[in-house]
Symmetry: C2
Subunit: 153 residues, 2 copies
DNA sequence: TATTGTTATACTCTATAACTATA
DNA sequence: TATAGTTATAGAGTATAACAATA
């Protein structure tokens, strides 16, 4: 039993469609996929240091500096002194940032509903269950491959 | 009925895992995700002009120039004069390029088998069917959003 | 006139390395 | 000595605009 090729084609198509739609939706807003990902983590975590954001996004601290610079200049986030650690910066959402995330959350829910309109609850559950199983196996495969690469080093 | 949040989390996780694995697998090969995508299309389409590749990849011709430059310098593709149109270039896979794609194809099949090990044929079929349905609806949503944006312009 | 591919220019994301201020 | 964030530098992907050769 193998994942049929058409499933890969659909996944690739979904990825390209989402990319195109983001480019369209972000035009003129000062947002990009990476910047929005940072906003999303900030929304989830609450006020955070740039180190915490770097871990959450799995990118370097230097990279976070650039993303926060861009988001700050467009008014989505603010840098504040950290209350207890004078080395660190605390990044917070501004009102604009909070409103943007709230709007995105409700857009996402609406889109999520439209995508599965016509499917039964059982079908959606089954889909989620298989997706989770595939993600679990993929995680193990990727970790095994990474370990193997490391051993060679 | 709405797609549950954990399904989005799994999809995001899969996307991040694949990205990390590609970065690892491509180290030292001169390949990247974008360059591999071009090789894949070339493998699928056969010898192609850069215009054809730009359409297939949905990027600008200028972008293809850069990708083909990089792939050529690493020996994966070659530029040849087009047999009938002296303006155009025909891009072909080299032996190295063909061998690389063949290896990737078999790797992909093996990984695809491991990801669904433990699932029944019926479950995989069901998964593919729902994925197709979701992709169809997503395509329509994205097109509708794009049309709406265009009307405002 | 239209098309193919290139040069010129610019923006974004990402990484490593060196450095400053602080813990 | 270790950590948080910055400056410096570099590579990769992407885009628009102007241009030369050819159709």
């Amino acid at each position: 039993m193998v994942i049929p090729a058409y499933v890969f084609d659909r996944l690739l198509e979904i990825s390209l469609l989402l990319h195109a739609d983001m480019a369209r939706a972000f035009a003129g807003t000062g947002l990009t996929a990476s910047r929005t990902h940072l906003l999303w983590e900030l929304h989830r975590l609450g006020p955070s240091t740039q180190q915490a954001l770097a871990s959450a996004l799995k990118v370097t601290p230097r990279n976070v500096t650039g993303l926060v610079d861009a988001l700050e200049s467009h008014g989505y986030v603010e840098r504040h002194p950290h209350p207890t650690d004078r080395r660190a910066v605390q990044v917070t959402l501004t009102d604009r940032g909070s409103r943007t995330m709230a709007a995105m959350e409700s857009d996402r829910e609406q889109a999520a509903a439209e995508l599965v309109a016509g499917l039964t609850e059982q079908e959606v559950d089954e889909f989620g269950r298989i997706l989770t199983s595939v993600a679990d196996r993929l995680r193990r495969l990727v970790e095994a491959a990474a370990d193997e690469t490391e051993e060679k080093t």
